[in-house]
């Protein structure tokens, strides 16, 4: 699914985001990437979303080399990925339904199909009764769940989440992680960048540990 081969990322100002990172993620795997602030978690996610390109090495996502992918292909690559942000990145002038429907509208699905899939995604995150509300009417936890529904509504093969529980209390954080596990059980690969080690330890999934752009650990969390 994902293959990092000696991937390095050096920025124009000389800062090195990643040092020769190598690891693989299998299809359907659940994986945490952890590390302190500045460890390279966000850089790793940005590379996977083709927001940046590696400066060295080879990064393959579903067989596509993200170092050489053309700009025109990037939107189509991103349609295979779902993204959940710490700050939700919801559109506050659109209803919950329209926020979740956005990836499907971009895919060009029919209205009926969009309604069906949005309903299904909102049901999965237990927000079926909130379709006509605006994000501003929801709690932080509910907003995060809307963000998750939007990330999974187009049935991506890979779900990326950047500190998805960063703003949530422990109970809500555990609830959100439960949603991710449900999604993973349906076959979607899940990669979560988080520094909440206590939460990660409880979940017992594979964990990559980064430090100053280097991979210093790869094993099951809590072991």
């Amino acid at each position: 699914m994902i293959r990092f081969e000696q991937v390095g990322k050096r920025y124009a100002n000389g800062h090195v985001g990643l040092h020769e990172l190598s690891f693989r993620v299998r299809r359907g795997e659940f994986l945490f990437v952890t590390g302190h602030s500045g460890a390279g978690k966000s850089t790793l996610l940005r590379l996977l979303l083709a927001m940046e390109r590696p400066t060295t090495g080879k990064l393959l996502l579903a067989g596509q080399d993200l170092a050489t992918i053309s700009n025109a292909q990037i939107p189509f690559l991103r349609r295979q990925i779902g993204v959940v942000f710490q700050n939700h990145q919801l559109l506050f002038d659109r209803t919950v339904f329209n926020n979740v429907a956005l990836p499907l509208q971009i895919l060009g699905l029919s209205k009926a199909e969009i309604v069906k899939r949005v309903d299904s995604a909102l049901e999965r995150v237990a927000l079926s009764d909130k379709t006509d509300l605006f994000p501003g009417d929801l709690s932080t936890g509910q907003q995060q769940r809307v963000g998750i529904a939007r990330a999974i509504v187009h049935r991506p093969a890979l779900l990326l989440a950047d500190e998805p529980t960063g703003n949530l209390d422990p109970r809500l954080a555990a609830e959100i992680m439960g949603v991710f596990e449900d999604i993973n059980r349906l076959g979607t690969s899940v990669l979560i960048a988080s520094h909440d080690l206590a939460l990660i330890a409880r979940m017992r999934h594979r964990m990559l540990t980064l430090q100053r752009g280097r991979l210093i650990g790869d094993g099951e969390a809590g072991v």
């Binding site: 939107p75 295979q80 990145q89 990836p103 060009g108 029919s110 187009h154």
Partner: protein, 340 residues
């Protein structure tokens, strides 16, 4: 890798031969959309972009109106000048007397000869009117106009020839020259004189006017592109987050660009309609004064309004300018809007 699942294995296998009429394979709900669905979705996407753009313009009616008004003024100035020039050209066409051909007859040509010549000339194609002025009439007019009445009476004989004034159908220099040649070769004609000075002056003024209108059009179209570009830039800034999210969830540049292009075209349409209205009203308002002035010169000249074809061209041009302005603005700013 695909965002959609493959058809189930059970659906891919052929039906059993024993089945008398195998049921048609039902499309898996997760199959990719077919062409008709994609086409419908594409149309739906355009419709949604158009409705969304209309909704956003409608949310700021005063701001949208003033943007359209500024564009309308920029469109009306060159278009209005061009319409006025067209009217002046039309007026020039009606001033055929400015291109009259004067036929000076031989001194021995009698009044009968002159009248016969006038009647003959009237039947020549390209001639609208012919008027004969006899030698006596010419002398009388000259005496009145020159103030030399007493002195002319001292002359032993009338020195002025009879004249036939020929008014052509249209003011076209080569055609007039050909007509002059033809008239000069007629019997009893000593000299045929074509006075094109006024025609040439008018043509020069119109040419200058055309150039001025062209220059003004280029200038104001540039200003209009800047106005629409700046307006669209503000819309883009207001929707920065939305654009970033759209790009992150797989929206292509054309998907991002679409609502702004519709918005530009709608601004253009609004400006075109306003401009047409302003010009129609303005010409109608001017017409009263023009009709009064023309009446003083014995003319029934009146300004023509905005011809429908010109109005439609104005609308189309305005929509295109709005579209192009928006396209330039979006192209410039789209690269800056990479997701952060």
């Amino acid at each position: 890798m695909s965002a959609t699942r493959s058809p189930k294995v059970s659906e891919r296998v052929a039906p059993k031969p024993a089945d008398p009429q195998p049921p048609k394979k039902k499309r898996d709900e997760d199959d990719g959309p077919d062409f008709a669905t994609l086409l419908h979705a594409w149309i739906e996407s355009h419709r949604a972009s158009l409705v969304d753009s209309l909704r956003r313009l409608g949310k700021q009616p005063i701001g949208s109106f003033f943007t359209c008004l500024v564009m309308a003024v920029a469109l009306s100035l060159p278009m209005g000048l061009s319409l006025l020039l067209n009217n002046v050209e039309r007026l020039g066409g009606s001033w055929q007397r400015a291109a009259q051909i004067s036929l000076y007859l031989n001194l021995d040509a009698s009044s009968k000869d002159g009248e016969a010549l006038r009647d003959e000339i009237k039947n020549i194609p390209g001639v609208a009117e012919a008027e004969y002025i006899s030698r006596d009439q010419a002398l009388e007019e000259f005496q009145q106009q020159s103030g030399l009445g007493e002195a002319l009476k001292e002359l032993p004989q009338n020195p002025l020839p009879g004249v036939v004034l020929v008014t052509p159908n249209e003011v076209d220099k080569p055609a007039l020259e050909a007509l002059r040649q033809k008239l000069a070769e007629m019997p009893k004609v000593q000299q045929a004189q074509l006075d094109l000075v006024w025609v040439e002056r008018l043509a020069a003024i119109l040419k200058l006017g055309d150039r001025f209108v062209f220059g003004l059009t280029v200038l104001l179209v540039s200003a209009l592109l800047l106005v629409i570009g700046n307006t669209i830039r503000l819309h883009i800034e207001n929707r920065r987050t939305e654009i970033e999210v759209i790009k992150l969830v797989g929206g292509t540049d054309s998907y991002v660009r679409r609502p702004f292009l519709y918005m530009g075209a709608l601004y253009g349409l609004g400006a075109g309609v306003l401009s047409w209205g302003v010009l129609a009203f303005g010409l109608d308002w001017l017409n009263d004064a023009v009709v009064g002035l023309a009446g003083l010169y014995g003319s029934d000249f009146a300004l023509a309004g905005v011809p429908v074809a010109d109005g439609l061209s104005l609308l189309l041009g305005a929509v295109l300018l709005g579209y192009i302005g928006a396209w330039i603005a979006v192209a410039r700013h789209l690269r800056e809007l990479a997701p952060k």
